[in-house]
Amino acid sequence: MLDGALLSIDGLSVAYDGSIALNGVSLQIRKGELICVVGANGAGKTSLIRSISGIVRSSSGVVKMNGANITGLPSWEICERGIAQVAEGRQIFGSLSVEENLLLGGSLKRAKAHQLETLEFVYQLFDRLRERRRQLAGTLSGGEQQMLAIGRAIMSKPEIVMFDEPSIGLSPALTDVMFGVVESLHKQGITVLLVEQNVAKSLALSDRGYVLENGSIVLHGSSHELLNNSEIQRAYLGM
């Protein structure tokens, strides 16, 4: 256990119709850290994020935010605690305008009072979104939609942002841009939980990493250690 963890997860399990997707996962994130959870397709990464955020019910385990037990709270109350996510598949509102998408991200009680300032901050971060703010979100390119999903998460003034495979479906060049955005958000003081299949790039970016296989954490340590771990090099880095 880490002392003073911002988000602490203990023994979290998720099952869909009896089949286990997440099996007793424990991890902690301190304020200001950037950690990654890496794993192959089907390892349970999305189940982990959705159970933390209350979108999927966990079958056992405890999630604490700032020391308070938030296990089993409905998703909108968990959002109010400052936990935002950039979801798998982006999950933007394609038939709403770019700006409406952002305003929806900023409609939580914790964020509403500063909605316009935060909107300006997001537009400064992503100039493209400002240019296209009246456009329907569904007409944006894949990379722009990912920016919108990130901007929408920022709109909620989160303490921690969980990214679920932000690089998926993007070109190598855009992938680098995306990791750059994650890094710069982290530098601005946002705590980041990055979930990825892109093991090399995620470990290069993060302070610590966890390796998820078949719903369980099989390895964790500093990213430096993990990058030099021979099993990881063989299984995930193709060395």
Binding site: S53, S75, Q91, F93, S95, L96, E100, S107
Partner: protein
């Protein structure tokens, strides 16, 4: 002859606006929650009875009766969603089908027990007054119902487009998971949506109470009518519901004039089949609330 046609057209358009309001209720519920409210016609009939009793007992104007129906039916819809419908929103369609058919039978049964099978006319002075505008003579009850329905449709459109609840409703309709991701209280959005849908049906019912006798059996007709209207316009489309209402209203009126009044109800269905052959998803067939 021309003036006869104009009159028929006008009265079809007027009733069509009210049909549009009924269909809007159905389409909003479907667009947001992806459930089909087979008890929609019963909700219209609740509105007709509210109109009947409000005029009968308190002798209030129909507009006031419509406002009473809006409030009562909103809460009715809200509570129905929050107690029963929400348990079936994520179940397979055939489960939902059974639940709504069951509710529809239950509501009809309740009306039958409470008020009996006999038609009750809401005869107010309004029912017999007309206004003349050059070629066309409009009956006042119809005109008032149409203007009120048209205003309400416009108001609802503006509300959904510009209010923050409207934004949340459209977001929930677009992407439920996305709604959960940004922290929308989806169960509350659903309950309010169902309330709005029920209120549309109830208000429409109250508005037409001077034109249709209150009777439990009306419900089936209205459910079917709402379906045809919504399908003609495109399931889940706001503008489609309005357009569908106008098309059906005019089609009914023309059928009654050209053929026989007994064909009045058949023609819209014939129209439905023809439209679906050429435009399988209706005029606007998409989810754009």
């Amino acid at each position: 002859m021309l003036s006869l046609w104009l009159n028929v057209l006008a009265s079809g358009i007027l009733l069509g606006l009210v049909y549009g309001l009924v269909a809007l209720g159905l389409t909003i519920i479907f667009g947001v929650m992806r459930v089909v409210n087979f008890a929609h016609g019963e909700m219209v009939v609740f509105g007709v009875y509210i109109g009947y009793w409000a005029v009968r007992l308190c002798n209030v104007p129909i507009i006031v009766a419509a406002a009473i129906a809006a409030v009562l039916m909103f809460f009715f819809g809200y509570l129905l969603e929050a107690s029963i419908v929400k348990r079936f929103v994520n179940r397979p369609h055939h489960y939902q089908f059974i639940v709504f058919i069951g509710l529809s039978l239950l509501f009809s049964g309740v009306l039958l027990v409470a008020f009996g099978p006999d038609p009750r006319p809401t005869a107010s002075e309004l029912s017999f007054s007309t206004v003349s505008l050059g070629f066309v003579t409009l009956d006042l009850a119809r005109l008032q119902a149409a203007i009120t329905a048209g205003l309400l449709i416009a108001l609802l459109g503006v509300y959904l487009r510009f209010s923050s609840f409207g934004r949340a409703l459209r977001a929930a309709a677009d992407n439920r998971l996305g709604g959960l991701v940004v922290g929308l209280n989806i169960p509350r959005v659903y309950a309010v949506t169902f309330g709005i849908g029920a209120a549309c049906a109830g208000v429409a019912g109250a508005l037409i109470s001077p034109l249709f006798d209150a009777q439990p059996y009306l419900a089936v007709d209205f459910t079917l009518l709402a379906f045809v209207t919504v399908i003609v316009g495109g399931l889940g489309s706001f503008s489609g519901a309005l357009l569908g209402g106008l098309v059906i209203g005019v089609a009914e009126a023309i059928a009654a004039l050209m053929f026989t009044p007994s064909l009045k109800t058949a023609l819209p269905y014939a129209l439905l089949i023809i439209i679906l052959i050429f435009r399988p998803r209706g005029f606007f067939g998409a989810k754009e609330i």
